[in-house]
């Protein structure tokens, strides 16, 4: 911030389309960007530790915390009886107790919390509790839940045409089965909340969350105070990926209750192992199908079953499982579909939002199906994929009734095939495999078509607040949260562009429920789309007011006033931006405005499972080439080529970063990241020592990422850009498909369909190669 900047003459810096570094980059490289754990604690701050269930499913027959209360350093012990309001933080259904009452339903469930001088004392004291259980039968896997008919929510079917008849009448038919593993978010900064007690029972919670409004509501219910008595604030997160949408509420609520009970500030930070055990993850899925197709590989009909491990409670599973159905078509036209989604209740942690939100699992199923179809017909999988793409009228409507209006996929794939040298490499891979008995290569191109909008229609709204101060400085606030995706930078660029001023002059401020209320989560990739539009609306309101003031000064019409180059001009006169703001103040013009946006066009009917749930689609495709060692199952990603559609990008550098990071995260999900629950429901991979996040050496040496050019959004989104948070994750499916391609090369029969489930760990690859 520099008060002189607005009158600096010359082209304004940091407008949209410019590759600005992340707004906090300088603070982040110098260690001066404050995350929640870095905030200077008020005197008297206490720390909390949450004691957890060791059983997957059991009645609690005894919970005696007397010895905990008298342990050294302990200030309070919180149990269900200490919750002033509702003992629940369920975001959709009231099925997530803050503290277990009589029953536990997963290992790691919160039993009670210890507040002590520091977390080490709290953790040590928690061990002194006497907890006795009467074990109940536990369902751990999807298959066990399916067999028992155990669901958190009713099953949902998406249907178009008569799939059974279409399959029966098709020249070819295949059935299949695929297991798709879950994924831990592993945001580098774990869950954390700092609760500060105020007057009248008010509380402020500084919380690493993607959804401050929901945390606010749930904390208020837990404290039994009006929502207005609770403020939730977040400046930045050390990563979120969906894991801080609903999952932050439990810890915020416990910290807030602790603050109420003790009257002292409470910090609750989970250590990594507790975080991995206690918080929900990406849903793992089991899918089965029956597909009918012709000799060209074109699909005629598909019957599919998608069963998700939701864990013990509903959380966001309804919307996540819906999104899996919405992406079962991916980029392909399927004439007749009957797909049923089961939302299985298991005695494991409640699974939650994770980048892609069910979409990736749906896509994995159709990509495997097309792979099978191609192999069965001895065709190149890419050829079969291309033949099934959405096309012109008659082949342009999704199974849920939405028309694919801007289908750039055929052209995008053609460009990528060309730029990646796919055809020549296909032949080179075949030649390599013919010559090498031990090492085998695989190559695959997979597309991504991802629907943008919250499928729960009312969530598609956003608000912003802009103040102008007399020196011309701009205070920007909106409902979106910054987790590293660059949202704050992009929205600031939007506002700077509107005022025609340097972006450095736009002060980016922490998200807080006290400034912009009733916000939606920063999720569904919609952060820039919605908050950018809301901030633009606020800026335009202020601009109109300033234009009146300037027009009076210049003797021109307000509509002839222009904002550019850090100046305001009209007729043949101009003033610095700050001067006009000062004049507006003296003219008694309000210099503060809210802005609001709701996404147009979208609607959806849950009963018929039809409508237009998405404002538009984002597209991309990736080519991956891998080499596997058939003696060990180990493999390497040799090269990846990506072409991705960001519309007219607001900030190409930030968007590229999202594509690169998303791809690698998607690859991790489908290759090295394996969640292992044992028979008693205990997560055995609860630290990075056993849960393998992609490391620097796993990234391909040859990695080409290109943003699709000259493809502005056909919808009037913010500066015709497209959302980019989630879609690139699914580009990682190309790596999985390439691994299966390499595995298939070990079989003599080119029509073999190797069984390879996700994640394709080296163990699984080894097991899948030809016997």
């Amino acid at each position: 911030m520099n008060a002189e900047l607005p009158i600096r003459p010359g082209p304004a810096r940091g407008q949209v389309r410019e590759s600005r570094p992340h707004d906090s980059a300088i603070k982040q490289v110098t260690g001066r960007a404050f995350y929640t754990d870095d905030i200077v604690e008020p005197a008297g701050t206490l720390e909390a530790y949450v004691a957890q269930s060791t059983e997957a499913h059991a009645r609690i027959t005894r919970l005696d915390v007397a010895a905990v209360r008298t342990a050294p350093g302990v200030r309070a012990v919180l149990t269900a009886a200490d919750v002033p309001g509702v003992n629940n933080v369920g975001p959709v259904l009231a099925d997530d107790p803050i503290f277990a009452e009589g029953l536990v339903e997963y290992v790691g469930q919160s039993l009670f919390a210890v507040i002590a001088d520091d977390v080490r004392a709290a953790r040590a004291a928690a061990r002194l509790a006497v907890v006795e259980y009467e074990p109940l039968p536990a369902l751990i896997t999807v298959e066990a839940a399916l067999a028992a008919g155990s669901y958190v929510l009713p099953s949902v079917t998406m249907r178009r045409g008569d799939a059974a008849t279409a399959i029966a009448g098709a020249p070819h038919r295949l059935a299949g089965r695929l297991e798709i593993g879950g994924q831990d978010h592993f945001y580098l900064e774990g869950q954390i909340s700092l609760a500060l007690p105020g007057e009248d029972g008010d509380v402020t919670v500084v919380c690493s969350t993607q959804h401050p409004s929901e945390v606010q509501h749930l904390v208020a219910h837990a404290l039994h105070v009006p929502v207005a008595a609770v403020t939730v604030e977040v400046r930045r997160m050390g990563g979120g990926f969906g894991g801080k949408e609903t999952q932050a509420s439990l810890f915020a609520a416990i910290a807030a209750i602790g603050a109420r009970v003790t009257g002292r500030p409470i910090k609750l930070r989970l250590d990594r192992d507790d975080d991995m055990v206690m918080t929900g993850k990406r849903h793992d899925f089991l899918a089965t199908w029956d597909v009918g197709f012709d000799g060209e590989g074109r699909l005629h009909g598909l019957k599919a079953m998608l069963a998700a491990r939701c864990g013990y409670s509903a959380d966001l599973s309804a919307a996540i499982c819906d999104r899996a159905l919405f992406h079962l078509d991916n980029a392909y036209y399927i004439p007749a579909v009957e797909a049923v989604s089961h939302r299985c209740k298991t005695h494991t942690v409640s699974n939650t939002a994770f980048r892609g939100f069910g979409g990736p699992q749906g896509m994995m199923v159709i990509e495997r199906i097309l792979d099978d179809v191609a192999r069965h017909l001895r065709l190149d999988p890419l050829e079969v994929r291309r033949r099934n793409l959405y096309g012109d009228a008659g082949r342009d409507v999704t199974p849920y009734g939405m028309t694919v209006e801007d289908n750039v996929m055929p052209q995008l794939i053609a460009e990528l095939v060309e730029s990646s040298g796919y055809q020549a490499r296909r032949e080179a891979v075949a030649a390599f495999n013919a010559a090498n008995p031990i090492l085998k290569k695989g190559l695959a191109l997979t597309p991504v078509k991802f629907g943008i909008s919250f499928t729960t229609t009312h969530l598609n709204q956003a608000g912003a607040l802009i103040h102008l101060y007399q020196d011309g400085s701009v205070h920007l606030n909106h409902g979106g949260t910054e987790m590293g995706q660059g949202l704050f930078t992009k929205v600031a660029q939007v506002v700077a562009t509107e005022f025609g001023i340097d972006v450095d002059h736009v002060k980016i401020t922490a998200t807080t429920t006290a400034k912009v209320p009733n916000t939606s989560a920063t999720a569904a990739s919609s952060g820039s789309d919605m908050n950018g539009k809301a901030a633009q609306a606020a800026a335009q309101t202020l601009k109109a007011r300033l234009a009146e003031v300037a027009a009076a000064e210049f003797g021109c019409r307000p509509e002839d006033v222009a904002f550019a180059d850090n100046r305001v001009s009209g007729g043949d006169r101009s003033l610095g931006f700050a001067e006009v703001v000062t004049k507006a103040y003296f003219a008694r013009v309000s210099l503060s405005s809210t802005g609001y946006y709701r996404t147009p066009k979208i609607h959806f009917d849950k009963d018929s499972f039809t409508g237009r749930p998405f404002y538009y689609f984002a597209y991309g495709a990736a080519v991956a080439e891998v080499t596997i060692d058939t003696l060990t199952g180990e493999y390497r990603l040799d090269r990846a080529d990506i072409l991705h559609d960001c519309g007219a990008s607001l900030n190409p550098a930030i968007d590229r970063g999202q594509v690169e990071g998303g791809f690698i995260q998607g690859m991790g999900w489908l290759t090295s990241e394996e969640l292992v629950f044992d028979g008693r429901g205990r997560l055995r991979t609860h630290a990075p020592s056993t849960y393998k996040i992609p490391a620097c050496g796993d990234v391909p040496a040859e990695f080409h990422v290109t943003l699709l050019r000259d493809n502005p959004n056909t919808e009037p989104t913010i500066h015709r850009s497209k959302a980019v948070g989630e879609p690139p994750l699914m580009l990682g499916i190309s790596v999985f498909a390439a691994l299966r391609d390499a595995v298939a090369a070990t079989y003599d029969d080119p029509a073999a369909l190797p069984a390879l489930d996700a994640p394709a760990t080296p163990e699984r690859v080894l097991a899948a190669i030809a016997p």
């Binding site: 570094p21 110098t30 050390g238």
Partner: protein, 155 residues
Amino acid sequence: MPTVTITVNGKAVTREVEARTLLVQFLREHLSLTGTHVGCDTSQCGACVVHVDGQAIKSCTTLAVQADGSAVTTIEGLADGQTLHPMQEAFREHHGLQCGFCTPGMIMTAVDFAKNNKNPTEAEIRQALEGNICRCTGYHNIVKAVAAGTAAMNG
């Protein structure tokens, strides 16, 4: 309680600490140097890397008493006043960060590496960063940043 004297970012500090105090706690809690982050608590992620006598180490699994008498440099001690260290500048310039939580540890690891590898290959950079996890960037820009930062440091 033992007393430790550690030169942190050029300033000698003497404090009484519990014997079990980790170096990262000493830096964050005793000295309010919160740029050093804790990502995993168990020596896996590298978010907590600092230099002890010029060598990159993970401060979440080092005791403060082990650093007694040593010189410690943290991310806060790298820049020269308002002028960023070349490695910091490279991370900013090459978009080598998103959420930024891994960044201090990455930079401290990279600076140590660059001192001993004046002309590294990309493969060597990748290997040097194997102990630092980044969940956001996919490492692509981090590798570019380290290459540029190494060149600038040794240029």
